[in-house]
């Protein structure tokens, strides 16, 4: 049983959605701080552009495409949940999950290649930022995938359908973070 | 008011102390005023049998005046303080009178090293005089210092000069001072730099030209003896 507090809605926004927005707000400042620091360094150190040339732009672009597609399937899952079609939402959630998996696989190949060429996290501040920012983002992808997997089984039985929307919001946020990371880390040479 | 506790030895020490006195007068006025009104109200409006408290919303214009007017006066005082503070700051940290002498100051765990230019008056020449924990400067002379750190942050602080500047590894920070009287005073590290932070006292020795020349001669003598 939930407390009555959870069911109230003085703002008109369901409590769960409101909370997810606050989670996203606090995440924005975390990534904002990291990327802000990176941008300050990037301006102060023109040589970062040369290091960025060693990143794999094609793989990054492919991953951007994969994430955007997975966001689409998250939207479709939400739509299915709105229509109270749990099994369909379940399928789309796992499609989104698959998108995350592809993203991580490509990422791991990229990193493996870069590390084998000697561009490790300790090499200089650019690579420290590169692995740190992308790694923090990847952790969010993994977290989102785990949550999606856990909630999907309730959703399949048409229970707690509002959660589909909540995880979708989060997934879009993770997607948007990547949209910032990709040009900053890969393209700005 | 600071000069009661510690001498003023640099040319800008008086400016900084003057600013501090100005702020002390302005905020002191407000402090005394607010505390007196506050304590007065607490004494006057103690609970009395049969007397009910007043009902004041504080939302009406004539009521808000009581905080509105002090509010504007505080703003006025703030502007005064900001202008005074910026003037002193610009004078001490942003404008540098041309250097007559330049010294290099290096902080490390846990000592200060000083590079004096030596008889030729230039840094990075063979006759530089290097010392540890002892800085010799001329009185009434514009000094520029090049501040460096070898390992962690340190802060070069000479309280009698009212001078303080952090030293940062990887950077050379330039500052200035001009001593106005001779004497020997403390140099302290003002930024925590590890377990020896309390153990890096250095001394600044302000000398007349004659004393300074004699010191330099003795240093060159020991250098050539080696």
């Amino acid at each position: 049983m939930r407390p009555i507090a959870t069911t109230r809605s003085a703002t008109g926004i369901p409590t769960g959605r409101l909370a997810v927005w606050w989670v996203i707000a606090s995440e924005i400042v975390i990534f904002g701080g990291l990327l802000g620091s990176y941008i300050m360094h990037r301006i102060g150190h023109p040589e970062f552009g040369g290091y960025a040339a060693h990143t794999n732009t094609v793989a990054g672009a492919f991953n951007t495409f994969v994430l955007l597609t997975s966001s689409l399937s998250a939207v479709l899952a939400h739509k299915a949940a709105e229509a109270k079609d749990g099994p369909k939402a379940f399928k789309f959630l796992w499609l989104t999950f698959l998108g995350g998996l592809v993203f991580l696989t490509v990422k791991s190949f990229e990193w493996h290649h870069e590390i084998s060429e000697g561009f490790t996290i300790t090499r200089n501040a650019f690579w420290s930022f590169y692995y740190c920012a992308a790694g923090l983002h990847a952790c969010h992808i993994i977290g989102g995938m785990i949550i999606m997997a856990i909630i999907s089984f309730d959703v399949k039985q048409n229970k707690e359908l509002q959660r589909v929307e909540l995880i979708g919001l989060y997934w879009h946020f993770v997607d948007v973070v990547w949209i910032f990371l990709f040009p900053l880390l890969y393209i700005a040479k | 008011m600071i000069e009661r506790y510690i001498e003023q030895v640099s040319t800008f020490a008086g400016d900084i102390d003057g600013l501090i006195t100005l702020i002390a007068v302005v905020v002191g006025f407000w402090f005394v005023l607010v505390e007196v009104v506050f304590l007065g109200i607490v004494v006057v409006f103690r609970q009395k049998p049969g007397v009910k408290a007043a009902y004041i919303t504080g939302e009406e214009k004539h009521q808000k005046r009581w905080i509105g007017i002090p509010h504007e006066l505080v703003l006025l005082c703030d502007v005064l303080i900001i202008i005074a503070a910026v003037r002193v700051w610009v004078n001490v940290k942003q404008t540098m009178p041309p250097a007559q002498e330049t010294v290099r100051i290096i902080g490390q765990q846990w000592a200060w090293s000083f590079v004096h230019p030596g008889p030729d008056g230039k840094l990075d020449t063979a006759d530089d005089i290097k010392t540890v924990d002892e800085l010799h400067v001329l009185v009434n002379t514009n000094y520029h210092f090049k501040l460096e750190a070898r390992d962690v942050l340190h802060s070069f602080s000479v309280p009698v000069f009212r001078l303080k500047q952090d030293a940062i590894p990887g950077r050379v920070i330039t500052g200035w001072f001009k001593a106005k009287s001779t004497g020997t005073h403390d140099i302290q590290c003002a930024e925590i730099c590890g377990i020896g932070h309390g153990l890096m006292p250095a001394r600044i020795i302000i000398e007349t030209p004659v004393e300074h020349a004699a010191w330099m001669a003795s240093q060159s003598a020991t250098a050539s003896a080696r």
Partner: protein, 585 residues
């Protein structure tokens, strides 16, 4: 559960049987099914916001005692260098650094934050808003559990090889980043981890607070009917969320620099040590207001009740809090005037910093105006609240010396700074906390505290508090720098007049610590022996006083409706001088 119509009457009926009502809390069957009152589910893994609040409060108090003990050890060292401190031994320079670092860290992150935000926030928000719990009780529990782990990690960090971290609570790299410099390879990493975990705990708690306040107010409770302390805790939570993010990222960077050797703060590899200072103070300065706002909120509740007055200009208080919050994001570099930033920046930050005096001064004016025309009762909570106003003003005005770039050149990192921020933090984390604890104790435990012991404790704390820090203002003006473990190494500072000041401060601290004993006697004895409090011993308006003391799980027998603002005291044309928020007109 009964379904009587008026919650107030029902609560009144319960007040006759406090023992019964307490039992009722455990089998409040309409609510959490799993809470059947076993020891573990009631006291350890509870999801009841009141129990979580108490967990936060007791953990915070315990950590505060440790922090107080640390201050005793290093103050003894400063007054009597090389002395064998009873209960500790001779203090080495490394130990001294670890003591001051952890004293600062504990007092801010493990005392002020958990007690002011988490304990009072958890206890008061659902009760004052008239709902049965937080919106996410299990996230609330998780928040406390993470907080507890963070405290344990911090405590463990003092006992690992190399000892606790000693790079000051600001943890500036490169000192904090490399073990060859700080000589505490494990201690420094565990310190960062503990602080990071603590941030996560408060982010979870903050989301809960903000969402609860936004969505779960009692029917009829409009924005401006919310008690000020709830507003303040919510604004503080939002400030915390908005400012801590960059430092969370910074903490990740610092841990990587420490453990795997990345180069974020290493100038040789393109990093920058100043970056940490920006990330730290971008959080660090709003953090001051994160703990200040709940404190002024508590004071607002108390002075209105004990002067039987409506809060003067409610909206003004709210706007000054919001204004302070917004401004606080643009002042951080006043901690770095002489740290090697561009000197031109200092002028901007001087202006913003000095201007923050306006909302804060206005807030103090409002409180003084609230007292005007009141019927002031000097009960212990009121004494604490008044002491907060009187003492915090000292902290406020001395801040002007430090915010002005010109004078900060001299005062930066001296004892003047230390005395200044203790004049803000002690009123916040000690005086306001005691105000809140003595005020809400009857609600939390159902019994009254002893007034005589309370007043002994009050005067025995407030007088020595001034005795500690006024001398330290003077040693600061005399040139004492912070974080130096023995001033005898500096010829100019080894003067006897300065040493007498240091000894006076230390003796005052000993007196202050001794006078905490009456508090703890009072606190624990009154739980069993105190006079029964009844529902509303202070005759206050806010909703938490309209249920039984202590409230059962679920808080209200019937959730209240709200009909008016929280400060309708001494309203004209009414016999009674208070008017509970849930009483229909």
């Amino acid at each position: 559960m009964s379904t009587s119509a008026g919650a107030a009457e029902h609560a009144h009926e319960h007040a006759q049987h406090p023992e019964h009502s307490h039992e009722g809390g455990h089998d409040a069957g309409h609510h959490e099914g799993h809470d059947h009152g076993s020891f573990w589910s009631t006291y350890v893994f509870s999801v009841d916001h009141k129990m979580i609040a108490k967990q936060y409060m007791f953990t915070g108090m315990l950590m505060g005692l440790i922090g107080g003990f640390f201050s005793y050890v290093f103050r003894m060292q400063l007054a009597y260098p090389g002395f064998h401190v009873p209960g500790f031994g001779v203090v080495s320079p490394g130990e001294y650094n670890a003591l001051i670092t952890n004293h600062g860290t504990i007092m801010i992150f493990w005392l002020a934050m958990p007690v002011l935000i988490a304990a009072f926030g958890n206890y008061l928000i659902p009760l004052m808003l008239g709902c049965d719990d937080m919106v996410f009780p299990r996230i609330n529990r998780l928040s406390y559990q993470i907080f507890l782990i963070s405290a344990l990690v911090l405590i463990a960090s003092w006992f690992v090889p190399g000892g606790g971290f000693g790079g000051a609570w600001t943890a500036y790299p490169p000192l904090s980043a490399k073990s060859q410099y700080n000589l505490t390879p494990l201690g420094s990493t565990m310190w960062v981890l503990a602080v990071g975990l603590e941030f996560v705990a408060f982010l979870l708690g903050g989301i809960n607070f903000v969402t609860t306040a936004m969505n779960s107010r009692a029917p009829g409770m409009k924005m401006f009917d919310i008690p000020m302390v709830v507003w303040m805790i919510v604004i503080a939570s939002i400030l915390f969320m908005g400012s801590v993010g960059p430092l969370v990222a910074g903490a990740v960077m610092l841990v990587f620099d420490q453990t795997i050797g990345t180069g974020f703060f290493d100038p040789v590899r393109g990093g920058d040590p100043i970056l940490w200072q920006h990330l730290f103070w971008f959080f660090g300065h709003p953090e001051v207001y994160v703990v200040l706002l709940p404190a002024v909120g508590i004071v607002a509740e108390i002075i209105t009740v004990f002067s039987r007055k409506k809060l003067f200009a409610y909206k003004t208080v709210l706007y000054t809090a919001l204004g302070t919050g917004v401004l606080s994001f643009f002042v951080w570099a006043h901690h770095q005037f002489v740290a090697g930033i561009d000197p031109r920046m200092a002028n901007v930050f001087t202006a913003t910093t000095v201007l923050i005096s306006i909302p804060i001064a206005e807030m103090m004016f409002v409180y003084v105006a609230t007292l005007y025309g009141g019927s002031i009762r000097l009960a212990t909570p009121m004494l604490w609240a008044l002491a907060f106003i009187g003492e915090f003003i000292i902290g406020g005005v001395t801040g002007i010396f430090l915010g002005s770039s010109g004078s900060d050149i001299y005062f930066h990192d001296t004892y003047f700074v230390l005395a200044h921020f203790h004049y803000t933090f002690v009123p916040i984390a000690v005086i306001a906390v005691f105000a809140g604890v003595t005020y809400w104790y009857p609600k939390m435990f159902g019994r009254m505290l002893n007034e005589t012991l309370g007043k002994i404790h009050f005067w025995g704390t407030v007088i020595p508090f001034n005795g500690i820090f006024i001398p330290l203002f003077i040693t600061g003006m005399g040139g004492d720098h912070r974080r130096i473990y023995n001033y005898n190494n500096f010829p100019d500072l080894a003067r006897p007049d300065l040493q007498h000041m240091r000894q006076f401060a230390t003796v005052s601290l000993l007196v202050l610590l001794a006078f905490q004993i009456p508090f703890f006697i009072n606190f624990f004895l009154s739980m069993k022996k105190g006079r029964l409090a009844g529902n509303n011993p202070w005759q206050a308006n806010t909703l938490e006083w309209q249920t039984v003391s202590p409230p059962p799980h679920g808080n209200f027998a019937e959730l209240p409706n709200c009909y008016r603002g929280p400060y309708e005291y001494s309203a004209p044309d009414r016999e009674s001088d208070y008017w509970p928020q849930n009483e229909p007109s």
